[in-house]
Symmetry: C2
Subunit: 149 residues, 2 copies
Amino acid sequence: MGERHEHAGWARHARGVADSVGRRSGGARTAIVDELAALGCCASPQELHDRLRAEGRSVGIASVYRVLDELSGLGLVQRVDLGDGVARFEPIELTGEHHHHLVCVGCGAIEPFDDPELERAIDRAAGRTAFAVDGHDVVLRGHCSDCAA
Amino acid sequence: MGERHEHAGWARHARGVADSVGRRSGGARTAIVDELAALGCCASPQELHDRLRAEGRSVGIASVYRVLDELSGLGLVQRVDLGDGVARFEPIELTGEHHHHLVCVGCGAIEPFDDPELERAIDRAAGRTAFAVDGHDVVLRGHCSDCAA
DNA sequence: ATACGTGCAAAGTATTTGCAAACGG
DNA sequence: CCGTTTGCAAATACTTTGCACGTAT
């Protein structure tokens, strides 16, 4: 498939997990999993729907929401909130590695970044709380190099 | 720890800033600023509206949204997204100190925490990106002590 | 007096749900 | 065949906007 299978492994994994919990594989979920796998970063349900439509793999918007919710429940995708009231989703890597997001307050650009030292600091901070923390999100806001000018 | 005047200073400051940019002081904004100041942590527009109503200081829900948007634009309140699709807001301290949030995936409890070491790590991480970062949000998810049992 | 603030209701979005038809096993 | 998945449309939830009226300055 043209999509450079950046996350082909993830797509296979996702299908495997869905199968293993007895989910049948219909066209909508197949298409959505492919689309998510081809994603560079997070996308909103509407964006996914538009992309699918553009590829001729039309899927009802309701199915996009349903499948995302389902994948989310299976721990296969993660919801990302960037502060603009639109929910976005992205695959959770099998390897456990994950990134966070930079948001440009000027142009709205979204860029992923990862930083091992930050991850360690978060783990340490989590250990100091009274919660049994098992997940986290970080959003950094500012101006991208273009908008800073 | 009732509502005392935990953030009485903030309320005064907020009014001062609003005045200084030529905003007239009507009943809605006064009530909303007081309510925000009495808040332990963040609250959604609907929660603020309900609390105000419970206190007999009824305010239209539209005014709640409008005032929050205005205060947000003045840098007096901050929007917080906890991942459940509901926007929440809280005062920004004059001192610049700020906290982040712990969310219990079991019962939905929200608890603030702050961690200076984490702040420093975030600043360092921000410096390694290509953005001119000037703000950030962190959400830690897990189980609170009650739900962990 | 006059311009700004507010409440109400209507209009917009974003997301969820009910249901009949299509489909996979 | 039979139960799951899907698409459509209606329903809901959340937020914004239009407008007439009240109110601070």
